[in-house]
């Protein structure tokens, strides 16, 4: 495929496959409680007597993982109020940055975390990437718009 058509094709595909705007709100509603639940399960739950156990633990784990994954996906892939080629470029840039951060986190955690705690990291690793992507994109978007507003 000629190079000159590639960017337009990416833009057209992304424009088509983005989720409706309402998914952004649904995403935040799913993501924030799921992150809190995930943190609770990873760091607080197992060491406290009021932690989850048995089937409640399985349900809590599934809820946290699915909530984080879907929430991050919805936050990142929902259409913005003004969706155009600049936001598409920003989304792709954030995706690249998220890959760098994700690989960095994997390398650092593999070198520093050992034993049973590494299993906790592997569990968290299931949803780390979409979450990093979501936060990097939102921070990038905020900083970009703020910079433009400040320069006006």
């Amino acid at each position: 495929m000629p190079c000159k058509h590639k960017f337009n094709l990416i833009y057209m595909v992304m424009k088509t496959i983005l989720l409706p705007r309402v998914f952004s709100t649904i995403g935040w509603i799913l993501l924030i409680p799921s992150i809190l639940l995930g943190i609770f399960i990873l760091f607080i739950g197992p060491e406290q007597s009021w932690g989850f156990s048995g089937s409640a633990e399985i349900i809590a784990n599934d809820t946290a993982i699915i909530g984080c994954a879907l929430g991050a996906l919805f936050v990142t892939c929902a259409r913005l109020r003004h969706e155009d080629e600049m936001t598409t470029a920003l989304r792709l840039h954030s995706l690249l940055l998220a890959i760098y951060i994700y690989v960095g986190v994997i390398v650092v955690c593999t070198l520093t975390v050992n034993g049973f705690k590494y299993f906790s990291f592997m569990a968290a690793n299931l949803v780390i990437f979409p979450m990093i992507f979501a936060f990097v994109f939102r921070i990038n978007l905020y900083c970009h718009l703020k910079e433009l507003e400040d320069e006006k």
């Binding site: 000159k4 960017f7 337009n8 155009d84 080629e85 433009l148 320069e151």
Partner: protein, 66 residues
Amino acid sequence: MKNRIKVERAERGVTQQDLADAVGVSRQTIIAVERGKFLPSTLFALKIARFFSKPVESIFIIEDND
């Protein structure tokens, strides 16, 4: 690459919002392009040129270091 969008707008009394609406992007995107913080696609550049009824080379000027 520098551009003359701001000058062309000023000459015609067109606001950033008017231009954004005409070419189908957000006002923030127009600001970013005017400031040289975002390089527009060919399609976007052609739309802007058509809006000002000028050739695209007279609005977007390539520099030696590009």
